[in-house]
């Protein structure tokens, strides 16, 4: 399957779950319409015999200034496919489910997202300080409204 066939296959397979985004510039980029079904969706694409998305390239949070987004980049080692999907999260209800049961390597990515964005991860099991110092108490540094205390923003040219 090439890029377009892969996108079509996924849209046919999960018509109520996925929506193809125009903003994706390389591999197919989907919007996950039902964040509650995240774990089931991940398990479905991993176990699908045509797809076998067994490899989580990366997972990260994004602060767009209006809400959070969570992005997953998945790949298949066996079938050589790759695509991404994401879903928005409101600031006041920033909570996702852990996908460690599907891809064990999600553990640290989720821990980092929790620590740097303050996005809570349900069923994670080890949400403790990680990249930041153990006694960190200055909030979530990757949020857009956070600047380091000694940071001076230069005027735009």
């Amino acid at each position: 399957m090439n890029r377009d066939e892969l996108a079509k296959y996924l849209l046919d397979k999960f018509p109520d779950t996925l929506e193809l985004l125009e903003t994706g510039k390389a591999e197919p980029f989907f919007l996950l319409k039902k964040p509650d079904g995240l774990v089931e969706f991940c398990r479905a694409i991993r176990d699908d015999v045509e797809l076998r998305m067994d490899y989580l390239c990366q997972m990260c949070g994004v602060d767009t200034g209006e809400n959070f987004e969570v992005v997953y980049s998945v790949a298949s080692v066996k079938k050589r496919y790759r695509f991404d999907f994401k879903f928005p999260l409101p600031y006041n209800k920033a909570e996702i489910d852990s996908v460690q049961t599907v891809w064990a390597g999600a553990n640290w990515f989720e821990r980092e997202t929790w620590e740097l964005y303050g996005i809570n991860v349900r069923n994670h099991g080890n949400l403790t300080r990680f990249l930041l110092p153990d006694n960190w108490d200055q909030g979530f540094p990757m949020r857009k409204d956070w600047d380091a205390p000694d940071f001076k923003r230069l005027p735009e040219v």
Partner: protein
């Protein structure tokens, strides 16, 4: 003897342990001499590169990302340049692509030579370290005459490369490549059949294929488990589909297989550089790209390349008519390797931590970013 009290105890290894290649701490729970549980503690090198990139223009990100994984700075430049080019639809001239491949593969050899030197040093063999750094010096000389830098090159830019190679580059590179395979033979003569080296490496740190894939292990570590997967062939970027090269694999996924795979990879990289020099066309070295006014269109993508340690990727999200990226996520392969490492350590002795960490080729700037 019956009422002798035994209990597990905790050993703190690092952060300033010379074999941890950066600053990584291991909290090891030991039962006598055997590791029961290992927990890596990271963050000592966290420089917030992702946050820094959000406050810089696309062109300004490239020198920052040199520091992301400083053993292969060329790859860091390449992965970001590639992502930005895909985002904005910039066509890279032919000659620039070839120069990139030459530099990337030379950099891969240099990085593997650091790995070879430090690994053998960690295992108590001093000689290969001196050999490896002698050859690495030749590569660094080539880089220095091209871009003036020996560690953080800032050479591959968005749209092409910074400078053309000087006239002396090709003869010097050819001279280096003509002897390099014999040099690899020399390293192998010291180590490959050395009984001490084999005893320290064979059946140590065995990684199964399932564990490797589940934890996102990539590069030589994945190939050592027997999976023939290389992004240069399986998700081709740049012009890698024009070169002929083999993808070495192992069988057992132990430290010794990882060693064999990396040694073979150096020969394969040299093969690619030879072909690239042979085919190198004349022409422009950069597309039209003005870093001062460049604005990316709205979009997002995750782009990945094969660097010497495995999959290096960058996720960029951009807003329309903005000079700066909204989000840059860096994905280093050592992050996943270190995450998988506790699972291969269980049941080993404490001295094997050093061997496993060295053979996985973990470096900490890649993990902490």
């Amino acid at each position: 003897m019956a009422d002798l009290r035994t209990e597990e105890f905790v050993v703190n290894m690092g952060p300033h342990h010379p074999s941890t290649h950066g600053v990584c701490r291991f909290v090891l729970t030991m039962d006598g001499e055997v590791i029961v549980k290992a927990e890596p503690v990271i963050g000592y090198l966290h420089r917030a590169l992702e946050k820094i990139c959000e406050n810089r223009t696309y062109a300004q990100c490239i020198p920052v990302l040199d520091r992301f994984e400083y053993c292969t700075s060329m790859s860091c430049n390449q992965v970001f340049a590639l992502a930005t080019e895909k985002l904005a639809g910039i066509e890279v001239p032919e000659r620039a692509e070839y120069l990139r491949v030459i530099m990337l593969e030379l950099n891969r050899i240099a990085s593997h030579l650091i790995w070879l030197g430090t690994t053998s040093l960690d295992l108590g063999a001093l000689t290969p370290f001196l050999y490896a750094f002698r050859e690495r010096e030749d590569i660094l000389d080539l880089f220095e005459m091209t871009c003036g830098q020996r560690l953080t090159y800032n050479y591959i830019r968005v749209g092409g490369v910074a400078k053309d190679i000087p006239a002396e580059f090709i003869p010097k590179a050819k001279k280096f490549l003509s002897t390099f395979d014999h040099k690899v033979d020399d390293y192998e003569r010291v180590l490959t059949e050395n009984p001490i080296f084999i005893a320290r490496n064979q059946n140590i740190g065995v990684m199964s294929q399932e564990l490797a894939i589940a934890y996102g292990v990539s590069g030589p570590n994945l190939r050592a488990t027997g999976i023939k997967f290389d992004l240069r062939r399986d998700d081709p970027y740049s012009i890698y589909d024009r070169f002929k090269f083999d993808i070495p694999t192992g069988q057992n996924g132990d430290c010794y297989d990882r060693y064999r795979v990396r040694m073979q990879e150096m020969r394969e990289s040299a093969k690619i550089v030879r072909q690239a020099i042979e085919q190198l066309p004349e022409g422009e070295i950069s597309a039209k790209f003005n870093p001062l006014v460049f604005k990316a269109p709205a979009g997002e993508l995750y782009s990945r390349i094969e660097n010497s340690r495995g999959e290096m990727g960058v996720y960029i999200q951009s807003r329309d008519k903005e000079k700066k990226p909204l989000r840059v996520k860096l994905r280093g392969s050592s992050y996943n390797h270190l995450q998988a490492m506790p699972h291969v350590l269980v049941g080993h002795k404490i001295a094997d931590v050093v061997a496993v960490m060295a053979s996985l080729d973990i470096i900490m700037p890649d993990v902490d970013r």
